[in-house]
Amino acid sequence: MKGRVLVVDDDTALAEMLGIVLRGEGFEPSFVADGDKALAAFRETKPDLVLLDLMLPGRDGIEVCRLIRAESGVPIVMLTAKSDTVDVVVGLESGADDYIVKPFKPKELVARIRARLRRSEEPAPEQLAIGDLVIDVAGHSVKRDGQSIALTPLEFDLLVALARKPWQVFTREVLLEQVWGYRHAADTRLVNVHVQRLRSKVEKDPERPEIVVTVRGVGYKAGPS
């Protein structure tokens, strides 16, 4: 398993501790302490995952997250001291796949990282259809009328999870478990934000979704194909 992790954090003690834990779990961590240098370090190290602290000197974490997301779909996990609605939602909307609130347990962190990296393992060749979209699971591509749509790995996973069982209504909790790898109920805002992001890419009219349909009071399901 590839395991290059870029840790963007200004707190040296925490960064060092993260390094100890990550190395103990078999990852290859690299570090950057400044928001301004984060993008350069990202291009240089080409990590498989970014651990990003939201409060940084220089460019703040949200901005860094946006910049990285603009040029790569690599999984980003935010480290945040604030679990307030606004902070988390802003972070997720700027492109982070997941977030973890300080203080966290090492096991929790590792589980999240592994869940984000798990997808890199070779999937079986599979063709799925959802609405007027064609999904090639192995080729990691989504096409509408031959035009390919760029999705981040997380958005892709979310779409595939829905498309695999078009008859099923997924509660947010189930999606958290299947897509994010949470074993117990967590913050359902993750799902809401990423469904919005996914819709903005795959729906013709995000205001009237046809691919990812909301089932009020329950959750989401795939639209009829």
Binding site: L14, I20, A81, T85, K102, P103, K105, P106, D187, R216
Partner: protein, 695 residues
């Protein structure tokens, strides 16, 4: 003169002008009647009367409310009524004086005219006697005819002098017995018998002086009758027989003058009243408008718009009121802002501290976990230290999390993400999460009332947090006895009650459990390491939903915590589907604190108490095990057998969701007891629970 004058002419106008006075009097009586009975609803009488009163009162209520609330209306109406009274009084006085003046002049002129007439009549009679004497002896057989002719001539000659200004009437004296056979003689088509009042004729009979009276002249030729002054005197005819001679002076002119004066006065009075009303309205408006403005602004101030100020113009009292008001508002705003700043700073501090603590705590936490993982390699002392470190870090973390949560509530930063959720799901999650702890404690958690969906618009995360707190608390303080989680929904509310049979709460503790860092017994060993903020956060969560979180407990009898949420967000709660005090509380079972029957066996023997006891144990499904069984059985051996858990468990509680639609009659006593608690929303109990209503 005085008696008659008071009786006739003034009497007429008295009746006419007296009408408004009379109406006013009945008005005030009506008002008293309304105040005393009609509007207070205090009419004691037959149901028909009361129904009528209610029917009358209903349309009047808005008017009375306007009357009570509108000072301008009050003052204008009062001014109108009072000025009306003054104008009326003034009118009477003026009219009375005018009338007296007019009549006095007329009476004097008439009297001199009549006196002259009387003396002329006397002279003519004397002259006739002399002439007769000169003519020689007249035959006694025809004197009356001569006298009759003479009298007709007399009337014509007397009346001709007045040129219609008066009429003359002669009547035979009734004292003469009418034997003379003289008919009445009159001028100007006057109806003599009707026009001359009988009382005056009787008075003339009794003496020979002149007398006068007021009357109405009635004409034979169909002219309208007129008020008149009549002056009469008994005079002797040429034969020496008495007859009555009357002068009738019509008062047409005087009446015309008087009615002109009356009309003028009425018009002027009306104008004065209306103008006074208008003036009062204007004046009151000048005072009331600023007062109303002040009231409106005060209301807006109290609603939180602290920058509102009154407009101040001039330097009068109203302006001073405005200035004082504005000064008050200014100071209030300043103080409130100071307090707000202070509390914002404090909250910010708490929040910042919590956040700043987090990063080093994360490092410590990770380090501790690494050490903890490796503890098998350490010597026992170091290994135990590593364990303690990890455990206490957990506690520290949860304390920090709770502090942050509380500071978020204090800052008003907590947001409700409500959507329709089935509370049974939440309860299931919470119960399964608390199962490990319950097993350690030997407690069994049972859920009651989960046959039907219990759906409410709520924030699942917060409700789960509240319930987890309540259930864990109940298990922790339940002394190993059963914990019952009861769900119900009715009306616009859903409720979840968590009942335990542990140490319970002392009087007064039911309100204090929600205080921050409050502990029932500081000396008590803490096994699960709560932060002391759990119930405070739970209370804030309930408030955020617009719901209630209330506690009930009795020493040694366990406690019940009840969460009531509105079924749809923003709907105010009016009651809870579950009574705060459970039906199997000691008091409801008729036991005192010591567990002995209350008030002897008489109370227990009454049927309702037994039913209630039966229903209570049924609806809350009293535990089939645990010490409550021997206690109940031992303490109240005379109680209804249905109160015992063994039989109570036979009764399946009806699904709460369908209760309101089902109309089937209760089949047995247990059902009725159960229904009493389940049907509908019970009115909110008074007492300690009140303090915890949502904001």
């Amino acid at each position: 003169m005085s008696r008659d004058s008071a009786a006739s002419a003034p009497g007429e106008s008295g009746v006419r002008s007296g009408r408004p006075v009379g109406r006013k009097m009945t008005g005030s009586r009506w008002g008293r009647f309304m105040e005393g009975g009609l509007l207070q609803g205090g009419v004691q009488g037959s149901p028909v009367l009361r129904l009528f009163m209610r029917w009358v009162r209903r349309p009047l209520l808005p008017v009375m409310r306007l009357w009570r609330r509108n000072i301008q209306l009050k003052i204008v109406v009062t001014t109108l009524l009072m000025s009306l009274g003054v104008v009326l009084l003034l009118g009477f006085v003026v009219i009375g004086q005018v009338r007296n003046g007019l009549l006095d002049a007329k009476v004097k002129a008439s009297q001199s005219q009549a006196t002259g007439g009387f003396s002329v009549a006397k002279q003519k009679a004397d002259a006739a006697v002399t002439a007769d004497g000169d003519d020689g002896s007249s035959a006694d057989g025809r004197p009356s005819k001569n006298v009759g002719q003479w009298m007709s001539d007399l009337v014509v000659s007397l009346s001709s002098g007045g040129q219609g200004a008066f009429d003359v009437v002669t009547l035979s004296s009734s004292a003469a017995g009418g034997g003379a056979g003289l008919g009445p003689r009159y001028s100007g088509d006057v109806d003599p018998t009707v026009s001359v009042p009988v009382s005056l004729r009787e008075r003339l009979d009794s003496n020979t002086l002149a007398a006068q009276s007021y009357t109405r002249v009635v004409y034979k030729d169909g002219r309208p009758s007129q008020p008149a002054l009549v002056i009469g005197k008994q005079v002797n005819d040429p034969n020496g027989d008495p007859y009555q001679l009357y002068y009738l002076f019509p008062l047409t002119q005087e009446e015309k003058s008087l009615s002109l004066v009356k009309g003028t006065l009425a018009t002027a009075g009306l104008f004065v009243v209306v103008l006074l009303g208008a003036i009062a309205w204007l004046v009151v408006r000048q005072v009331v408008t600023p007062v109303r403005m002040a009231a409106g602004i005060a209301e807006r101030l109290s609603a939180g718009r602290l920058q509102e100020r009154m407009k101040v113009t001039g330097e009068d009292d109203i302006a001073r009121l405005g200035e004082a008001f504005n000064k008050m508002a200014q100071n209030l705003q300043l103080k409130i802002q100071q307090l707000e700043d202070l509390s914002r700073m404090q909250r910010r501090f708490v929040s910042d501290v919590s956040h700043e603590l987090r990063t080093p705590l994360t490092t410590v936490r990770m380090a501790a976990d690494v050490i903890h993982e490796a503890r098998v390699d350490f010597d026992p002392v170091t290994a135990r230290s590593a364990e303690l470190l990890a455990d206490q870090l957990d506690r520290f973390e949860s304390l920090l999390a709770d502090l942050l949560e509380i500071s978020r509530f204090d800052a008003g930063a907590a947001a409700l993400e409500a959507e329709p959720i089935d509370l049974r799901e939440v309860v299931r999650r919470v119960v399964s999460g608390a199962e490990p702890l319950a097993e350690r404690k030997g407690t069994h958690i049972r859920v009651v009332g989960d046959q039907q969906p219990v759906v409410a618009e709520a924030d699942a995360r917060r409700v789960e947090r509240v319930l987890r707190n309540l259930v864990v608390n109940a298990v922790e303080h339940g002394d190993g006895k059963d914990v019952i989680v009861k769900l119900a929904s009715a009306g616009g509310a859903v409720a979840i009650a968590v009942r335990d049979y542990g140490v319970g709460l002392k009087p007064g503790e039911a309100t204090r459990v929600f205080s921050r860092f409050w502990r029932a017994d500081p000396a008590r060993a803490r096994t699960t390491g709560g932060t002391g903020l759990g119930l405070s956060i739970a209370l804030e969560d309930a408030r955020l939903h617009g719901g209630w979180l209330q506690a009930w407990g009795e020493p040694g009898g366990g406690s019940q915590f009840r969460l009531t949420l509105p079924r749809t967000a923003d709907e105010p709660l009016r009651g809870s589907p579950i009574p705060l005090e459970p039906k199997d509380s000691r008091r409801n079972r008729g036991l005192n604190d010591a567990g002995l029957p209350l008030g002897g066996s008489g109370k227990l023997a009454t049927v309702p108490v037994q039913q209630q006891a039966g229903g209570g144990s049924a609806s809350s499904a009293a535990p089939s095990r645990g010490p409550i069984v021997p206690r109940m059985a031992g303490a109240s051996p005379t109680a209804d057998p249905t109160a015992l858990p063994g039989s109570g468990s036979r009764v399946v509680p009806r699904p709460a969701g369908s209760v309101r639609r089902q109309d089937d009659a209760p089949t047995d006593g247990e059902r009725t007891g159960q229904e009493r608690g389940r049907d509908g929303v019970e009115p909110e109990e008074l007492g300690h629970g009140e303090a915890f209503r949502g904001r």
